[in-house]
């Protein structure tokens, strides 16, 4: 029976995606000027404004076995070309448009349709960042970012994903129950989240949502160059409004939101976020993790809550770096103007904290080590990587249901216990 549901879901998902295949992720418009390279990665040629660029359907067929791939297939391909697309998307050398220096990047075949109807085939280099598990595309072959609306593509992709999720949910209401395999209390969690925050005004999540409305109303569309100082104002405002302890708890949830990868599965999402929260908590309990510019700048050089110190220590959690994209997402976040994926992830960050407090999250083996202080994404190789300290079975039980973080698809975290 379960298999039947899965097949049905797959059919519906594939169908819902194929309906929109002509809009496939890489279309965009209103771009002033971009460059296209030929298949030999030769001299770039300019593309005039208004051209439409799509990834070559033949490429998708070759990579994914379908010209009309499912959303999950596309996401896996884009999120992590280094791993998910191993031996499929290869690094190729090219010369930077601006300075002519040789560089390496992932090149994807694209088709360009100009406003006059002319069609050109060539290659473009993209990078797909997924620190939050949400799509963010950047042109990486030296193109002027002001001449290439990568944020538009990212927004379009997220919209597409959101639209597809809604279609899937409508068409296959039992998909979630089958694919998530949740226990009863967790199954009710997603539905309970919204109503609980409405009913209990004293909950931190509800308070935080109100805070974001006020903050974003007063400070609209914060830019990268302002993000560092706006972060200081944001944190000062949180402390003034909620006190150090609650402000620190909110910042921990925001760290989990920014750092943990996105998961469709409810239990997996809670496990990923709980793991980040555990590391934050362990660092706070073990004492200082270095100095914090941010705390000094807001007049809290001394006497800051240990959790605040652990989260805001310089260069420790990248979401709190002055010019980080995740910081911008946090500063500009408000539930009313965010997509469903972002709202869901934010709600689960706060809910993961509550479940941990209620003892519904159990860290197994080395994941429960108080010296679990480090993790990194599986697509980077930090110089502090020590195989002996790596947690080989990163398992977390969410309300009794085990989730092995190493078995999650796509980008994931690798955890370490006992590193200095």
């Amino acid at each position: 029976m379960k298999n039947l549901f899965k097949i049905l879901c797959l059919v519906v998902t594939t169908f819902s995606f194929s309906v929109q295949a002509t809009d496939l992720p890489f279309s965009y418009s209103n771009t002033k000027s971009v460059h296209l390279r030929n298949n030999n990665l030769g001299s770039p040629q300019a593309i005039e404004a208004g051209a439409e660029i799509t990834i070559d359907p033949k490429f998708l067929l070759e990579m994914l076995g379908s010209e009309n791939p499912t959303q999950e297939q596309v996401q896996r391909l884009l999120l992590n070309p280094g791993e998910a697309s191993k031996d499929k998307v290869v690094t190729q050398q090219f010369r930077d448009v601006n300075n002519g220096k040789p560089k390496n990047d992932y090149f994807f075949p694209v088709i360009v349709k100009t406003k006059t109807g002319e069609t050109k085939a060539g290659k473009m280099a993209f990078s797909f960042y997924n620190r939050t598990g949400m799509l963010e595309i950047k042109r990486t072959d030296g193109a002027d970012p002001t001449q290439f609306q990568s944020s538009q593509i990212t927004a379009q992709l997220r919209d597409l994903i959101d639209q597809n999720k809604a279609t899937e949910a409508q068409s296959c209401q039992q998909c979630e129950a089958v694919s998530n395999k949740p226990t009863q209390s967790i199954a009710d969690l997603a539905r309970a989240l919204e109503s609980s925050s409405k009913d209990s005004s004293n909950q931190l999540w509800a308070k935080y949502k109100e805070f974001t409305k006020e903050f974003t109303a007063a400070h609209r569309k914060i830019k990268k160059s302002d993000a560092g100082q706006m972060k200081r104002l944001y944190i000062k405002s949180l402390i003034d409004k909620f006190g150090q302890k609650d402000a620190a708890t909110i910042l921990a949830a925001l760290t989990a939101f920014a750092e943990a990868p996105y998961r469709d599965n409810v239990n997996a999402q809670i496990a990923e976020m709980s793991a980040v929260l555990k590391v934050v908590d362990n660092r706070a309990k073990s004492g200082a993790r270095g100095q914090s510019r941010t705390l000094k700048d807001i007049g809290l050089a001394n006497g800051a809550d240990p959790l605040l110190k652990a989260i805001l220590a310089d260069w420790q959690f990248s979401a709190w770096n002055d010019r980080d994209n995740n910081l911008l997402r946090i500063l500009n976040y408000t539930p009313d103007r965010s997509d469903a994926m972002t709202n869901r992830k934010m709600a689960f960050a706060f809910e993961s904290q509550r479940l941990m407090q209620d003892g519904k999250v159990e860290f197994m083996g080395k994941m429960n080590d108080p010296k679990l202080h480090h993790y990194h994404a599986n697509y980077v190789n930090p110089n502090w990587d020590r195989a002996a300290n790596r947690v080989t079975e990163p398992t977390i039980k969410v309300d009794g249901v085990p989730v092995d973080l190493s078995k999650q698809r796509g980008a994931r975290h690798v955890f370490y216990a006992g590193l200095a």
């Binding site: 007063a218 160059s225 000062k236 980077v380």
Partner: protein, 177 residues
């Protein structure tokens, strides 16, 4: 109506800042400086200064200046360096203000501001910093503390200035909110 009141309050606060900050006519003077890794030597000063991010590497001093305000001596640095952001190397442009403690004749960081940051872990990334930094030194109209007015912007952006005040107790330039 509420929006209007809010706007008025906001503008009031902004003009309050403007009244509070009084720019100094005197500008910082360029001085010679050199470094051996994270240790910096200013001009003829014997004391050495260790830059704020001690795990920095590939440190390059871009500009060093000095300004004397009342009995306080400040040195400033514009530094290009690499730091590890947890897992990934970052190329950063940092502006540091250093205060000379006359009692101990030692140099201490009084502010360390990240002006720009480039994630250099990618295969292909921009190599040039794109941010512009403008600093104006001044004093507070009321309590006469040393203040900085900073404008940080990227190209084609209108900068949004912010103010810092020197806290003599903590010897640090804190944000004025």
């Amino acid at each position: 109506m509420i929006k209007y009141i809010f706007l008025v309050l906001l503008l009031g606060a902004a003009s309050g800042h403007a009244e509070e900050f009084q720019a100094l006519k005197e500008e910082p003077k360029k001085i010679n400086c050199s470094n051996n890794k994270e240790s910096v030597t200013f001009d003829a000063l014997k004391s050495k200064y260790t830059i704020y991010d001690k795990n920095s590497r590939d440190i390059k001093l871009i500009k060093c200046e000095k300004i004397q305000i009342k009995d306080l001596s400040f040195y400033t640095l514009l530094i290009s360096s690499e730091v590890m952001d947890g897992t990934e190397p970052q190329k950063v442009l940092t502006y540091e203000v250093v205060v000379l403690d006359k009692k101990t004749n030692s140099l201490k960081t009084a502010r360390s501001e990240i002006v720009d940051q480039i994630d250099i872990s990618g295969d292909s990334v921009p190599t040039q910093f794109e941010s512009t930094l403008k600093i104006k030194w001044g004093i507070g109209a009321k309590n006469k503390n040393v203040q900085l007015r900073i404008e940080l912007s990227e190209k084609n952006e209108k900068p949004k200035p912010y103010l810092l005040k020197f806290n003599t107790k903590s010897q640090w330039f804190e944000n004025i909110f």
